[in-house]
Symmetry: C2
Subunit: 400 residues, 2 copies
C-alpha cells in the first residue's frame, strides 16, 4: 500500500479492488478506477472482429464524458453471445448506481479466458464490496495488481508535465503478457491525467502515442480480442483547458507518449515466459511505415526469439526477418548489429567474435538488435521478449 | 536403397549424394538430381529480399531447359556477399563439366545456416565423388535423405497419371522443418515427371499447385531465405507434348497438386519439435483469399499451437485468430469445430464435453480444426504443427 506514494497518481482519481471469485486462484480480480469529476476520455480498441462484449459498450460510452472504469480479470467475456453483452451492461449499471453517475459514464474492461461467461452475480456483489470498503488513492495503486492475469509484475509509468500554468501528472497502468500483438488497440492500458485537455486533442494525442508505443510491441504475434487503451483527463490540477492549438500541448503529448512507451516496454519484458527484453531499432528506412514493418518482423520472428533465449548469436535469422518484412531495401546496403557488435555490413558478414556476443547475450537482461536498411532516413523501434520453454508451458496449460 | 522400388521415380531421372564435409555431423550433405535428357522446367523462389546466392542463378538458368540440380545442405549460402555468388556459380560449372552439359542447365539449391560461406573446394571434390560413384535411380532415392537438415524424416510423394496416351509419373521430394512460412516460393521441393509438358503450362500449373499446397502451410511464421520449388518434366515417358490446351492437362495438374499437397502436409507434420499435425479447414468464406487468410492465421497462431501441444481444448484462441486474420465475416455467424466436436456455433459457445475433446487431442497424431465463417461459399485448408518445448530447444541451440 506504500506504492501509492511511489506511484504519482494524478489528483482526483481513486480506486479499489476485491476478490470477487472470478479467478479460480482467489486472487483479486475485480477493480474500479474512478474520477471524482467527469473526464474527457479517449480510447483505442482491438481491431479483432471477434472482440469482447465490453468493447461495443465502451465505444458507445466514449461518445460522452467518463467517470470510471470497471475491470474484471479471469474471463474475457468474448464469444459469449447475448449473455456476454448483458453481463457488460449490468456491470456498468451496477457501478454507476454505486458511484452515483450515469451508466454511460462507466467503461468496462475484461481479460482472461475466451469463451467463458463471467458470473455477473459475483461481479455485482464484488462491486458492492469495493464501494463498501471505500475507494482511495491507495486503492488505485492496488488496482495495478488486480487487473493482471498471467503477468508476473504490475506495469505503471508516470510523467510530470507543466501545462496550462499548472503542474500536472500523466499516469498509466497496463496488463498484458500473452496474446500480445496490438493492432490499433492494445492490451488493457489505462492512462489517467489531472491535466485539463480537450477530448478531441486527447484522442489525437493518444492515437499518435499508441502508434509509437503499444503498436511497436509483440509477445507472440496474436492480436487479442480484448485490447483496449483508455485515457482519462479530469482537469483536477486546475488551469485552462489545453488542446492541440495550445503552446503546452506538445509537452503534454510527449509525456503521454513517454508513459505509453514505458508501459509497452514493461509488457514486452513481462511477456509470458520471457527471460530477456529485446529492443529492435531499425534506421535507414525509406519511410516510417517501412521501418516499423521491418522492426516488427524481427520482433515477431519465433526463430530470432528462440535464438535470443539460447544466447545464440544467429544473426542470419535477423537478416531473414528483415528480408520478408515487406520493407523496401537493398540487401547489399544492409547492416546489422547484435548486442552492440557489428555482425553484417554492406551485404557481407563482418568480422566478429561469436563467443563475445554469446557472452553479452548471456550477461544482460536487455538485448538490442540494430539494423540500418541503407534506404533512407526513417527509423522505428519495436519491443519483444525471447521465446522460451516457459512460454510453451504457460500456453499449453492455460485452461486445463 | 530398397526405397527406390517403393518410390515411383519417373523414367530418365537419376541421382546420387555424398558426405562432402559441409555438415559438422559428417552426414550426407551434397546431392545431385540429373535428367538423362533436357527438361522443361518451372520454379518458384522465396520472395524474401534477403535470399540465397543460388536464387538469382536459378532464376537465370530457368530461362532455358534444365538437366540437373545440385543441393548442398549445411550452409544456406545467404548473406555471403560476392563470395557466395562465386560459390553458386562454381558449383553449377563443376556439375555441368561432370554431367557433360552447359553450366546454364544446372540449378543449385542450398540450405542450412545463414551467413556462413560453404566451402566450394569441398563441394567440387564432393561432386567428383558423386559422379565418380555413378548416378542411379537408387541414388536418387538416397537424395531424398541427403537434402535434409533438422528434418527427422524424408518427404516424398508420387502420382501416376495417364497423359498424351502414356502412363507417366509425377514424383516430388521436399525438405523443410523450421523457418517455414512459404511466400510465393517455399522450402526446397523438387518435382520430377517423365510426362512431356510444355514449359509455359508446367509453370502455370506449378504456381496454382503451390498456392494450394506449400502456400497453405506454416511451421513458425518465418519465410525462409532459401525457399525454392522446382518442377522438371523430361518427357521420357514418350507421347505427345501436352499443354494447358490439352485434354489431359487437367489430370496432370491434379497429379502435380496432389504431390505438392502431400509434401506440404509432410513438412508440417515434421515441423521442428512437432508432436501433432494440425489441419485447419475454413469454409463459408466470402472469397478463397479470405478463406486462406483465415486458415493461415489459425495455423500461425503460437497460442493455438501451444494449446494443441497441451491437449487443451482452448478454442477461444481459434476464434481470436480468425478474428484478426483479415477475413471478412460476422462473428455472430461463426461456427468452430475442434477435433470433430462443435464448440462454438452462431456466435455462442455450443454445449460440449471439454474432457472428451482433450482426450481426442491426446489420442490422435492428427488434429483437425474446422471453422465456418458463414459469409459465403469459398474454402481453404492450412497445415501446421503444434508448438512444443522441442521447437524452442532446437532453435535455441541451432548454431552454437
Amino acid at each position: 500500500m506504500t506504492r501509492s506514494v511511489q506511484l504519482r497518481i494524478p489528483a482526483g482519481f481513486v480506486g479499489g479492488s476485491t476478490s470477487a471469485g472470478l479467478k479460480p486462484s482467489g486472487a483479486r480480480d475485480l477493480s474500479v478506477i474512478l474520477s471524482e469529476r467527469p473526464c474527457a476520455a479517449a480510447g483505442l480498441f482491438t481491431r479483432n472482429l471477434v472482440c469482447g462484449a465490453n468493447i461495443p459498450l465502451c465505444r458507445e460510452h466514449l461518445g460522452g464524458r467518463v467517470r470510471g472504469i470497471v475491470v474484471n480479470a479471469g474471463q474475457a467475456n468474448v464469444c459469449t453471445g447475448d449473455a456476454g453483452a448483458e453481463v457488460a451492461a449490468r456491470t456498468a449499471r451496477k457501478a454507476a448506481e454505486l458511484a452515483g453517475c450515469r451508466e454511460t459514464e462507466i467503461l468496462v474492461g475484461s481479460t482472461g479466458v475466451i469463451g467463458v461467461l463471467p458470473d455477473v452475480g459475483k461481479i455485482e456483489a464484488g462491486l458492492e464490496a469495493v464501494f463498501g470498503d471505500g475507494l482511495s488513492r491507495a486503492g488505485l495503486a492496488g488496482v495495478t495488481r488486480s487487473i493482471l492475469t498471467t503477468d508476473l509484475v504490475p506495469k505503471t509509468a508516470s510523467r510530470r508535465v507543466r501545462i496550462g500554468g499548472r503542474s500536472t501528472t500523466v499516469f498509466g497502468m497496463a496488463k498484458g503478457s500473452g496474446m500480445i500483438h496490438p493492432n490499433m488497440g492494445t492490451m488493457l492500458a489505462y492512462i489517467l491525467t489531472d491535466a485539463a485537455v480537450s477530448k478531441r486533442s486527447l484522442n489525437a494525442a493518444l492515437r499518435r502515442a499508441a502508434d509509437r508505443s503499444f503498436h511497436c510491441m509483440t509477445v507472440d504475434g496474436d492480436t487479442s480480442t480484448s485490447d483496449m487503451v483508455v485515457a482519462l483527463a479530469n482537469g483536477a490540477a486546475g488551469g485552462d483547458m489545453v488542446d492541440g492549438a495550445s503552446e503546452d500541448f506538445e509537452a503534454f503529448e510527449a509525456a503521454l507518449t513517454a508513459v505509453c512507451e514505458s508501459l509497452a516496454r514493461q509488457v514486452a519484458a513481462d511477456g509470458e515466459g520471457a527471460t530477456r527484453l529485446v529492443t529492435v531499432r531499425v534506421r535507414g528506412a525509406k519511410t516510417e511505415a517501412d521501418a516499423r514493418m521491418a522492426a516488427m518482423a524481427v520482433a515477431r520472428s519465433s526463430l530470432v526469439k528462440s535464438a535470443i533465449f539460447g544466447r545464440d548469436p544467429n544473426w542470419g535469422r535477423i537478416a531473414c526477418a528483415l528480408g520478408y518484412s515487406g520493407a523496401r531495401f537493398d540487401p547489399a546496403r544492409l547492416s546489422i548489429r547484435l548486442a552492440g557488435r557489428g555482425v553484417f555490413s554492406g551485404g557481407q558478414p563482418s568480422r566478429h567474435n561469436r563467443e563475445e556476443i554469446a557472452r553479452r547475450l548471456a550477461d544482460k537482461r536487455e538485448v538490442t538488435i540494430e539494423a540500418d536498411l541503407g534506404a533512407g532516413k526513417a527509423h522505428a523501434v519495436a519491443w519483444t521478449c525471447d521465446l522460451t520453454y516457459d512460454y510453451v508451458r504457460i500456453n499449453a496449460e492455460y485452461t486445463t
